[in-house]
Amino acid sequence: MSEILLQARNLSITFGGLKAVRDVSLDVPQGSLTALVGPNGAGKTTLFGLLSGFLKPGSGSVHFAGQDITGQAPHESARLGLTRTFQIVQPFGAQTVRQNIAVGAHLRLADRDEALAAAEAVAARVNLQASLDKPAADLTVAGRKRLELARALATRPRLLLLDEVLAGLNPSEIDEMIPVVKKLVDDGVTVLMIEHVMRAVMSLAEHVWVLAQGRLIAAGTPGEVTRDPKVVEAYLGHGAAARLAAQGAPA
């Protein structure tokens, strides 16, 4: 059993009357690629907000590399090595791709030229080297997703929280992106990703957490959770698992 890098215990948050995340506990082992899946509105992005410090939990705790980071400001977590990306990409539109990535690189490098050079190296890792001098606002959706990833990567994170880096991409763009994510893990970055594209989850993730209505309802290998009746019901409605079984659908 490898060391636990990120540990969440009994996390809960309420928005008005809505319990967006309820009593969630999860462990992310060092060096793993874990996926967080669940139907729309399950609370996945909210959970990311709690883990990265953008939201303060109502109760519960988050530990990163043995340190208590519950409710700690995101920029402090980034310094410790925990960086997130956003589902709705957030480029610094007025700046070039190189300048965008350099902002991330500046977390570890004070010198401007070194940061710009590091930005170039990171861009090559996510296949953005051809667009380095384009304004970020001119990139395609696929390009912006890569930029979002590159900027986070430039901070030299130990743990990356990727919020739907594949959403909005076409199948061939997804095929290009999957090896990029795989390579990150091979390079020693631990990844926790929210993902809807099940093809990617099945081929990438070693372990999957399933969130529905703010609760973790299942966990295991991709094969295990897709066979779990609770997961099927969360996506397709109450009784769906039984009906599918009765119809003799392949499990």
Partner: protein, 323 residues
């Protein structure tokens, strides 16, 4: 960075030459007032253009610098050259205090603009009611011509003084374009959440921005006192200075190195021209000034420098289309 530094050096040499060789009082006054307006816009541009925090009350820092410069001489009997650094430091300190109060609570956009306006108004009323500021009568610095007293016999001395600070502001702006702090400032302007996620502390960055911006603004206030030997609450904290600072930067191009200078000079030339041409019809110069301002904002929304860039790109596109 090198290109920016060369351009700044060239600009400095040209202006020194103009000031040293020109015998025309009109030209010297124009250069002096343009440099003064440029300094205001450059100061505003640091926080507004690079930091994206649009202040509507930059007169606050101008006034603090002006009153500090006057009071240091009148009440403490200090030499103006000695008072100046103190006035600048005080301006920066007020900037950090106001920034601390507003940025801590996440005020942005129009809310930040309104709060800065309110702070400037509060200071104007305080200056009106306090006794040590001379109230509504204002403060007069006695005329004692001499370089040692920072009161120059001709416009030239003030031009050199203002030019030194305009060059310094240009250098600071060039540094913003090529440094980590500047990159962080622009990142916070473009997307604060994205910046936070990758390790930027937005509060600290904005406080740095407002301190720099306020410091240059208080320089302008202090020099104003030295030039006119007079300050009152309306001049110091009124909205005229705030508007002059931001309009110059917006017209010239926010978040650019030369935009604020270009905008301030253009507006100043325009105001002088309309006043001279239509001086006998009171008010008409302001009408023309206003119309031109509207045209600039309508057709060059990114300012004069931005407009030039768009034009250049348009021509390139047409050429490419032809090929």
């Amino acid at each position: 960075m090198k290109r920016d530094l060369c351009a700044i050096a060239l600009f400095g040499v040209v202006l020194v030459a103009v000031a040293a060789l020109s015998q025309s009082g009109v030209l010297l006054t124009f250069v002096m007032m343009s440099l003064y307006a440029a300094l205001l816009s450059q100061a505003w541009n640091i926080l507004g253009g690079y930091g994206g925090q649009l202040s509507f009350g930059h007169a606050l820092f101008f006034g603090v610098g002006a009153y500090a410069q006057a009071l240091g001489q009148l009440n403490l009997g200090l030499n103006p050259w000695l008072v100046l650094p103190g006035a600048i430091a005080l301006g920066a300190l007020v900037g950090v205090a106001v920034g601390g109060l507003t940025f801590r609570y996440g005020l942005k956009g129009s809310y930040f603009a309104l709060v800065t306006l309110a702070f400037a108004e509060v200071f104007r009323i305080l200056a009106l009611s306090a006794s040590f500021t001379g109230g509504g009568v204002g403060l007069m610095v006695p005329l004692q011509e001499g370089v040692a007293n920072m009161q120059f016999g001709s416009r030239r001395g003030y031009i050199y003084l203002l030019l030194a600070f305009v060059l310094l502001a240009l250098l600071v702006t060039a540094w913003l374009r090529h440094s980590r702090f500047g990159a962080y400032l622009q990142a916070v302007r473009d997307n604060e959440d994205a910046a936070r996620a990758i390790g930027v502390n937005p509060l600290r960055v904005k406080l740095g921005g407002i301190a720099l911006s306020a410091a240059f603004m208080s320089v302008a206030g202090a020099v104003y006192v030295q030039v006119f030997q007079y300050i009152d609450p309306g001049i110091a904290f009124g909205s005229a200075v705030s508007v002059e600072a931001l309009v110059g930067a917006i017209v010239g191009g926010m978040g650019t190195l030369w935009g604020p200078l270009l905008g301030a000079v253009t507006l100043h030339a325009l105001a002088d021209l309309t006043r001279n041409l239509f001086g006998e019809l009171p008010g008409i110069s302001m009408v023309i000034y206003g119309v031109v301002l509207i045209l600039i904002v309508m057709f060059m929304p990114r300012g004069i420098t931005g407009g030039g860039q768009s034009l250049g790109r348009l021509f390139k596109m047409k050429e490419r289309a032809r090929v």
